[in-house]
């Protein structure tokens, strides 16, 4: 197992994702003799995990779970939050718009909980490298440890420094740079010098429009071009079967109503009870994330 390469079977030392339900997954470090408690009962690593294939079903005392091979996307929904994190919807857009691919050299700050970092490493492996800068020392140490556990440590360098003061610690090597810090405008110059002289792409993520305005001004001042600010929101559709009652318009309309019911039945609808039709539909959750942040992209010209 590695976060950048699939394996068939679960081995000791792997990090596996225990899938309980769509909104409940937990990462587990597989260790001989260890046990993990879930709401469906205990998982014994030696018997239930090691040597089994990824994707297997594990029977517990109160039900069963599936063990999944880790991916950056599963990690994003199951990682321990130490900060606000970036989610897959934004990450997808960042990856495409920064033109990441195997071999890309990327700079990132702040590392935070490492949600984006894992996705970047996956995309630039096996020949690329991520230089990620985290201001907060404990967090820098913790994420470094995770990269090792996830067997991607060789493709990433974590630096514990202030990107606004000290930059990314590299110069003229990066194809892309990403900023998720309170004052990105202070780091635009550093991003510029970290990027290759032939040019490159940069992205800044900010929740507030004032941050976007200052950052765009800084990009322009530093000669960046192709400025583009976007926002992307995910809409999840829950598939549901609902029953809609059919009202009674009175005795004289029996013929009429029967006709209607016939038509209803031919149109993907089954009569579940007298006076009601069942339809398949989708609903959106009552409250959804309405804003994560603005993504501003720019191209560094040749310097």
């Amino acid at each position: 197992m590695s976060f950048a390469e699939y394996s068939e079977s679960i081995a000791e030392g792997d990090v596996a994702i225990i899938y309980l339900s769509h909104d409940s997954m937990m990462p587990v470090k597989v260790q001989r003799g260890a046990q993990t408690q879930t709401r469906y009962g205990v998982i014994r690593h030696s018997q239930d995990l090691i040597g089994h294939k990824y994707g297997s079903k594990v029977s517990c005392s109160k039900g069963w779970v599936h063990v999944l091979h880790p991916t950056p996307e599963l990690w994003t929904v199951s990682l321990p939050h130490r900060t606000q994190i970036l989610y897959t919807t934004d990450i997808s857009m960042i990856t495409m718009m920064l033109e990441l691919k195997p071999g890309s050299i990327v700079c990132e700050s702040g590392t935070g909980s490492g949600s984006l970092s894992h996705a970047i490493i996956r995309s630039i492996a096996p020949t690329g490298h991520l230089h990620t800068v985290e201001f907060h020392q404990q967090r820098a140490l913790k994420v470094q440890e995770e990269f090792m556990e996830h067997r991607v440590g060789n493709m990433v360098t974590v630096r514990n420094q202030d990107v606004c003061k000290d930059g990314f610690g590299v110069s003229g090597v990066a194809d892309a740079a990403f900023l998720d810090i309170p004052s990105p405008w202070d780091a635009v110059g550093h991003a510029k010098s970290a990027l290759k002289k032939q040019g490159g792409r940069v992205c800044s993520f900010s929740p507030c429009i004032e941050q976007v305005q200052r950052t765009c001004a800084a990009f322009t001042d530093h000669g960046f071009s192709e400025l583009c600010t976007i926002e992307i929101l995910l809409q999840v559709h829950d598939v549901r079967t609902v029953s809609l009652p059919v009202p009674d318009f009175g005795p004289n309309s029996d013929l009429n109503r029967d006709q209607k019911r016939d038509q209803n039945q031919t149109q993907n609808q089954n009569q579940s009870s007298p006076g009601a039709v069942t339809i398949k539909t989708t609903t959106v959750p009552r409250e959804i994330p309405g804003h994560t942040g603005f993504l501003t992209f720019a191209t560094k010209p040749r310097t």
Binding site: R139, E210, L244, S253, R257, I279, T281, I288
Partner: protein, 447 residues
């Protein structure tokens, strides 16, 4: 602030019996000012008696279950206590020592008589990490603390705006998840205005009916079509309309619509359809009852349920029925508004013949698919133009210096609308096929 130059303020002051809406932050609750009647709001109970004589929009503190007018200076938005947010929380170390105030300190502040908001400000001032929290975390912190310490409440005059927001926030299930902006669209798409004759079918606790009545201002007539045993409109009471508004309101059972359209309503007389419908459809019980209705009922309750009373009620119902029938039988209604838990397609097809030609209709559904069916049916059947299937997408913004952004949580779905305009069917040129069945009735009868 209450001293002013003798203007006519009476309509702006709260009286006993008035319907009001309690507000704290984004939380609303409808209530009626009744002497010595306890209300429960956000897990606190109190009496509204002291509100009488004060102006609407006044904010009160709750002290020992009694309202006490708040000084105006502290009435303010919930965002006031936000300091410049850290946006990033990279400096926060969670050592459990961030709050310098102890529980005893807080109890002391309370005893000193500090108000909820003041206590929260104290907590913020004494939190070493608050300033470094991300804005999202600051929000969460304030909300949590507010829930614990806030004890003020504002009393609002009810309106469609406030009640629609209240229902959407508190009990969306009761109004078929109809979001307030969708209701706003319905009222314009159906061209609701004074002096018109509007047919309403809703199972939204009376909110939609009340909204229509508010826009008609007591001019014209509204017919509420109802399924089952009787109309449900507890929500209408919350609007606190003057009595004469209710004279414009009629009710008519869905199960008599065919009889009405066939001209067999009189013959049907004893109304077997109605009682059958009562059995078939579950009857919705109004949760709120007007004070008057309740006291009347309690008088009646006892053992005396004799024949005479039954007959009286039947007579009353028959009178109501024929009054409503008189309004409808011209088939010249000016607007049709549907928002129900029923399948919209048969409802729309059943009620459309009641409209005059060149009149708007609008149908709400929480789901898109049934309206697609409606749309196809109408296209196939003819008799309508200007059909449009839509939904709206509503976004709130936080506008604060250096912290402006769309609100982090938004409502997922506000439901769907199908709207259109009825037309008469005339001679269509050969080769231009646009069949028309049911609505021919409409135009013929309306001549």
């Amino acid at each position: 602030i209450m001293a002013d130059n003798g203007d006519d303020d009476s309509q702006y002051r709260m009286k006993e019996g008035d319907y009001v809406v309690l507000k704290r932050g984004d939380i609303f609750k409808a209530a009626q000012i009744v002497a010595k009647k306890k209300v429960i709001f956000e897990k606190q109970w109190f009496f509204l008696d002291n509100a009488v004589g004060h102006l609407y929009n006044s904010t009160f503190e709750i002290h020992s279950g009694q309202l006490q007018l708040k000084k105006t200076s502290d009435t303010g938005g919930s965002a006031d206590s936000k300091e410049a947010a850290g946006v990033d929380n990279r400096n926060i170390v969670d050592d459990g020592k961030s709050q310098k105030l102890t529980r005893d300190d807080i109890e002391m502040l309370k005893e000193k008589g500090l108000k909820g908001q003041e206590i929260i400000q104290q907590l913020i001032d004494n939190s070493s990490t608050f300033k470094d929290k991300t804005e999202y975390a600051q929000d969460k912190y304030i909300k949590k603390k507010k829930k614990k310490y806030e004890n003020s409440v504002t009393l609002l005059k009810p309106s469609c705006r406030i009640l629609a927001m209240m229902y959407h926030g508190r009990e969306p299930g009761k109004i078929c998840h109809l979001r307030y902006d969708t209701l706003a669209q319905m009222l314009t798409l159906a061209n609701i205005h004074a002096g018109s004759k509007v047919v309403v079918f809703e199972t939204c606790a009376g909110l939609v009916l009340g909204a229509v009545m508010e826009r008609m201002g007591g001019f014209g007539s509204v017919v509420q079509m109802y399924p089952g045993g009787g109309p449900v409109r507890a929500g209408v009471d919350s609007f606190g309309f003057p009595a004469h508004f209710h004279h414009t309101l009629h009710e008519f059972p869905l199960c008599r619509v065919n009889a009405l359209l066939n001209g067999t309503l009189e013959a049907a007389g004893k109304d077997p359809g109605n009682s059958r419908a009562v059995q078939r459809n579950s009857v919705w019980r109004p949760e709120l009852l007007t004070l008057r209705a309740r006291s009347q009922r309690s008088q009646r309750r006892g053992r005396r349920r004799d024949e005479q009373e039954k007959k009286q009620r039947l007579d009353e119902r028959r009178k109501k029925l024929s009054a409503a029938a008189a309004v409808l039988e011209g088939r010249n209604a000016d607007g049709l508004v549907i928002a129900s838990r029923f399948h919209p397609c048969p409802v729309l097809m059943g009620l459309l013949p009641l409209l005059a030609p060149s009149r708007p209709f609008v149908v709400y559904s929480q789901y898109k698919e049934p309206l697609v069916e409606c749309y196809s049916k109408l296209k196939e059947q003819g008799g309508t133009v200007n059909l449009q299937l839509t939904n709206t997408w509503l976004r709130h913004y936080q506008v604060l210096p250096n912290r402006t952004h769309p609100v982090l949580l938004m409502s997922g779905g506000g439901g769907y609308l199908l709207s259109g305009t009825t037309v008469a069917s005339g001679p269509s040129k050969p080769g231009q096929s646009k069949p028309c069945f049911s609505n021919c009735r409409t135009c013929d009868s309306a001549v």
